[in-house]
């Protein structure tokens, strides 16, 4: 370890201890286990700052936070997978003896021979650990991918194909003429004036038409086809721009959440 790194670690450790003491002191009148609570808040703040330090450069503090995060999450999900999927869902349906061993309530009416199929597939999947039987694991993989893709195919066909087609069935010239006043009324995008409705329908039509042409791969994009394709990419980019702005607003709120934690729960500067 470099000397500067060592000094930095010592400073951070000292600051951590100081923060812990101060935080525990501030919580002493509020809760009985103020030492533990003080540690938890200080440690959360330390991890938050460690992750944010990545904005400067990769450093040992970030590495520590990263490895802790990855290790804890991997172990947590493994335990969750074992206890919720295998112990709680599978075992009570297969064996009374094992249910008793894991102290699980038997589930009347849920015993089902077919639950042995995922067990067999799971064991086959684990065969990849065997040097000679690795090929067996390809069968459950094929089963998982094939069945899910097949099921999704019909679902997508319904929601992304048929329903999308029917959603483009809009009158481009508007509905029945109801006078000049109604035609120009409510000139804002959320309203139902005839002119706005007609404009919205044209946007749908041109957007879908040109967007589909952009995604047509069997023909070179030249001439009129190329022009329509260009309009298509413009439509896509406008959509992405709107989506980008909308999502960034959501991310800002996440940042505000972390800053609120640091300044309110840890430093108690804001109320």
């Amino acid at each position: 370890m470099k000397k500067t790194t060592f000094i930095l670690m010592a400073i951070v450790s000292a600051l951590f201890l100081l923060s812990w003491i101060l935080k525990a002191g501030s919580l002493s009148g509020e809760t009985d286990n103020y030492i533990l609570q003080g540690f938890l808040v200080t440690f959360s703040a330390f991890l938050t700052l460690s992750v944010l330090s990545f904005l400067y450069a990769d450093n040992p503090l970030y590495k520590f936070a990263e490895h802790l995060f990855v290790g804890v999450s991997a172990a947590f999900w493994m335990c969750m997978g074992f206890w919720t999927t295998i112990v709680q869902n599978l075992i009570p349906r297969l064996s009374d003896g094992l249910s008793k061993f894991f102290e699980q309530q038997p589930q009347p009416g849920d015993y089902n021979f077919f639950f042995f199929i995922p067990v067999i597939l799971g064991i086959m999947l684990l065969m990849r650990l065997s040097p000679k039987g690795g090929w067996i694991s390809r069968w459950p993989l094929a089963f998982i991918i094939g069945t899910t893709a097949g099921l999704n195919f019909v679902r997508y066909l319904r929601s992304d194909f048929i329903k999308q087609i029917s959603n483009t069935f809009v009158p481009l010239l508007g509905t029945e003429w109801q006078g000049i006043g109604h035609f120009f009324s409510n000139l804002d995008l959320s309203a139902s004036g005839q002119l706005v409705a007609i404009a919205a329908n044209w946007v749908i039509f041109l957007g879908v038409f040109c967007g589909l042409i952009y995604f047509y791969f069997s023909k070179e994009h030249k001439g009129a086809f190329g022009a329509a394709s260009k309009v298509g990419i413009w439509v896509l980019m406008l959509t992405f721009g709107a989506s980008f702005g909308y999502t960034v607003m959501g991310r800002i709120s996440l940042l505000v959440g972390r800053i609120t934690f640091l300044f309110r729960d840890w430093l108690e500067i804001i109320s």
């Binding site: 992750v51 990545f54 450069a57 990769d58 970030y62 936070a65 990263e66 995060f69 990855v70 999450s73 991997a74 999900w77 009374d96 249910s99 309530q105 038997p106 009347p108 009416g109 999947l125 990849r128 390809r138 993989l141 998982i144 991918i145 069945t147 899910t148 893709a149 999704n152 019909v154 997508y156 066909l157 319904r158 194909f161 048929i162 329903k163 999308q164 087609i165 029917s166 483009t168 069935f169 809009v170 009158p171 481009l172 039509f205 879908v208 038409f209 589909l212 995604f215 047509y216 791969f217 069997s218 023909k219 070179e220 994009h221 959509t239 992405f240 989506s243 980008f244 999502t247 991310r251």
Partner: protein
């Protein structure tokens, strides 16, 4: 004589309708409320008419739809119909079945209280279940005995103005809402006034049997689309297999993959391939496997380093197989090692933290993000840009494409990712399906154009063709 005959005839003509009406009312009242002492017959509404009971369409069975014509006094006439009560004739055997169900529930409660399934309780449960099963088997026979051995039971009430009711039950014989399929069921409806003793009953509808349908007619459009797409795919796959040249326009993002691999080789730095957060069954991940195969093959040929951190264990297994076979195809199976593809964690931001760390420590020359991405897309792409890597991304997650567009050098938008796998792989199956997709898009354009005209001229029959039930 003639005078007497005329008088008798006139008297008969005047009295007969009154007597007939009184008889009808009396019969109706007797059938429904059983001789109420004082009912003002003038308040009895006209009964619902034309009652029909049919098997409910497009379902798994165990359901009957009952329809009727509203009473003449519902919304007009005396306008005194408050609601309709729907009755079904139920054999007494159903009560015995209910007793057995209660017995089964008692055994289940006892198992819960004991905390384990003792052999006595298990035997008891098996016996009750067998009895329920036997009794349920006798249901069609019991229903055939109508009107003996059963009685009319109230199912439900519907408000006035409504002329339809769906009697939907379950298929579980042990459930209280069980309705047996292929049994003769009988229904009737009564129009009820504010005084529930004053009511008028319809005739009986039945026998009718419930049964499930193999084909949901509400999804015919999906079936046609499925057939169209399937036939087109098979046709183009066969065409590709025969050696026909199927044109696919060049995609900038894919052309860049080869250059990026060359760049990594020249710089002596690794290539980072991220498969995203999708499962192995997601279409984007499947497409990404094909691109990974191609990248891994070139990596093996150029002897460059490849890093593939994965989020999902199944994806890891598939990716390992893909990379392994690519190394074999490149004639360098000995260069493959299991550490090329490794599992990180299944927590989204922990995975991001790990991949970001890898980017800054390993400094890959090229980062390839192909698959399904969520909120981590910008975090990954920005860190990659910070590390100075060439970045190529592709996803079908519409909300994430903008982030890749702003932070990556090349981005495959949506379906371009699927096309990329076909373009790179040049396999007949992939090329054939890509061609079929293109024809499907052409069909969408044509149908949408006809639909626009249909919407303008209100050809509702055409619009209805695309109506799909959920």
């Amino acid at each position: 004589m003639v005078y007497k005959l005329t008088l008798t005839l006139l008297t008969f003509l005047l009295i007969a309708p009154v007597v007939s009406a009184q008889e009808t009312v009396a019969a109706s009242v007797e059938a429904t409320v059983g001789d109420p002492p004082m009912i003002d017959s003038s308040l009895i509404p006209a009964p619902p008419s034309d009652i029909k009971a049919v098997d409910t369409d497009n379902d798994h069975g165990h359901s009957i739809t009952v329809t009727w014509e509203l009473s003449a006094d519902d919304g007009s006439g005396m306008n005194n119909v408050l609601s309709y009560e729907v009755f079904r004739w139920v054999p007494f055997l159903m009560d015995e079945l209910d007793t057995l169900r209660a017995e089964l529930a008692r055994v289940a409660a006892e198992i819960d209280s004991v905390g384990r399934l003792t052999s006595e309780l298990k035997d008891e449960r098996t016996v009750v279940r067998a009895a329920i099963s036997d009794m349920a088997d006798q249901m069609p026979e019991a229903h055939r005995m109508y009107p003996e051995g059963g009685e009319w039971r109230l199912l439900d009430k519907v408000v006035s103005g409504v002329a339809t009711y769906e009697n939907t039950g379950g298929k579980n014989r042990e459930g209280s809402d069980y309705i047996p399929d292929f049994s003769d069921l009988y229904f009737r409806v009564e129009a009820v006034t504010i005084d529930s003793t004053i009511r008028a009953a319809s005739g009986v509808a039945g026998p009718v049997q419930s049964f499930g349908q193999w084909f949901n007619t509400g999804r015919t459009a999906v079936f046609i689309a499925f057939m169209f797409f399937g036939i087109m795919t098979v046709f183009f796959v066969m065409k590709a297999r025969r050696g026909s040249e199927l044109y696919v326009r060049p995609l900038a993002g894919i052309e860049a993959v080869d250059e990026a691999i060359g760049r990594a080789t020249e710089m002596g730095r690794p290539i980072l391939y991220v498969l995203g957060l999708g499962t192995a069954a997601d279409v984007a991940t499947i497409a990404s496997f094909t691109v990974l195969g191609r990248v891994a093959k070139q990596v093996a040929e150029y002897q460059t380093q490849l890093i593939v951190p994965t989020y999902d264990p199944i994806v890891m297994s598939v990716a390992q197989e893909v990379v392994k076979s690519s190394f074999s195809d490149a004639g360098r199976p000995e260069d493959y090692n299991e550490d090329i593809v490794y599992f990180v964690t299944q927590l989204q931001f922990a995975y991001v933290a790990a991949v970001n760390g890898t980017m800054l420590r390993e400094l890959p020359a090229t980062n390839i993000y192909m698959g399904k991405f969520f909120a981590e897309s910008l975090l990954l792409a920005e860190t990659g840009a910070l590390a100075g890597s060439i970045q190529i991304a592709g996803t079908d997650e519409i909300a994430q494409i903008p982030f890749f567009i702003v932070a990556c050098d090349f981005t495959l938008i949506g379906e371009e990712l699927y096309a990329a796998s076909a373009y790179l792989g040049r396999e007949p199956i992939l090329l054939g399906s890509l061609k079929a997709q293109d024809y499907a898009k052409a069909a969408v354009i044509v149908l949408a154009t006809i639909g626009l005209i249909a919407a303008q001229f209100e050809w509702n029959w055409f619009i209805e063709l695309f109506h799909v039930v959920d």
